[in-house]
Assembly symmetry: C2
Homo-oligomer: 210 residues x 2
């Protein structure tokens, strides 16, 4: 893998391209082009080629890209063929929804455990998985070799939960609580606030006077 610093937006777009390529592959199409990929993924052909260029050469000049080969190449780059073990912390509505969301499994993410602190939830089953007690977090995540923790607890609990995750040695956190988590630099943290998306939409509507 090249070591040139790769923009994060490039990785985001690669995931979109890969989804589209899988579709194409399944439809039986053999060849595609940067123009076609751009059209369907809302990018530009120059952007698509540039994104690929960070990682090597995958096409044939004058011809285009072999769909199967390109899909394999991109999948490998973004680690799609690996199996990542995921733990969800918080068995509320959103936690349950993420657990049930098949989209994660399709992309190699396997939710192996879900935790909650509420005794009335611990022991119940969601989508075939038993809710574990948060106090057993370290024991269970070690056993299940968890790679990524998904935090879906109320805002005021999030940092404490984050600290616990860090202490357990897990190196990646996806946080849906509306809080900016602080963590050591060797831990990958992604803070996603769902309200923000609505706010950007509404801001844009305000500006455009819609």
């Amino acid at each position: 893998m090249k070591t040139a610093k790769i923009p994060e937006v490039t990785i985001m777009r690669l995931t979109t391209y890969s989804r589209y390529l899988l579709q194409l592959k399944e439809s039986g199409k053999k060849i595609t082009s940067s123009r076609e990929i751009a059209e369907i993924t809302g990018s530009t052909s120059a952007q698509v080629r540039k994104d690929f260029a960070y990682f090597g050469e995958f096409g044939v000049r004058g011809v285009g890209y072999d769909v199967d080969k390109l899909y394999e190449a991109i999948s490998n780059i973004i680690g799609l063929h690996r199996n990542w073990q995921v733990a969800i912390i918080g068995a509320g509505h959103l936690g349950g929804a993420l657990l049930a969301y098949s989209g994660f499994g399709d992309r190699g993410f396997h939710t192996a455990a879900i935790f909650d602190a509420d005794p009335s939830k611990v022991g119940t089953e969601i989508d075939g998985l038993k809710v574990a007690d948060i106090t057993d977090f370290e024991k269970i995540t070690a056993k299940e070799k968890i790679d990524i923790a998904v935090i879906v607890v109320p805002a005021d609990k999030a940092q404490k939960v984050g600290d616990m995750v860090v202490a357990s040695g897990i190196k990646a956190i996806l946080n849906f609580a509306p809080v900016v988590l602080s963590a050591p630099t060797d831990v990958e943290v992604r803070n996603v606030d769902l309200s923000t998306y609505l706010e950007i939409l509404s801001y844009n509507m305000l500006v455009k006077g819609l």
Copy 2:
């Protein structure tokens, strides 16, 4: 409101700042600084000041920012004090989770309707709201004056649903289906793919060799 083109990342950060300011306000603190805001929101003080500068002057040199005034100013900029009417399309796990998510309500987004095409779901209640039949979409959204449609249907249904939303005259769509929706340019569309966040995390772990 100034018309200089404002970066979207600035709007995203403003929503984060506003959340932190509300916290500060509720804790009774009166004065804050760009340094403090930056620290807690994972930004830099120059960034914070620059973000504010797009919209005016909100602080006092040598002193800092009045928490209450700054919170009000930012809230107005991003339209936080408005009431936005939201419709959710898709009464599955994620749809239900978004409906139950109080974070939206706190930020001025009121979910007035939830739709599904599945007859076994139509008429049932989720979180006190009756699931409506998707065929009544236009009638109900007109009556409820819906501003924003949230699409939470399977990927293969998303574009058709998007077309229906556009036809109804709604000007903003938040799409959680893993598909890039196409829509006229006068409709604000935001495509959010939850798997992408996991993929970026796993990619970063691969690169760092964690």
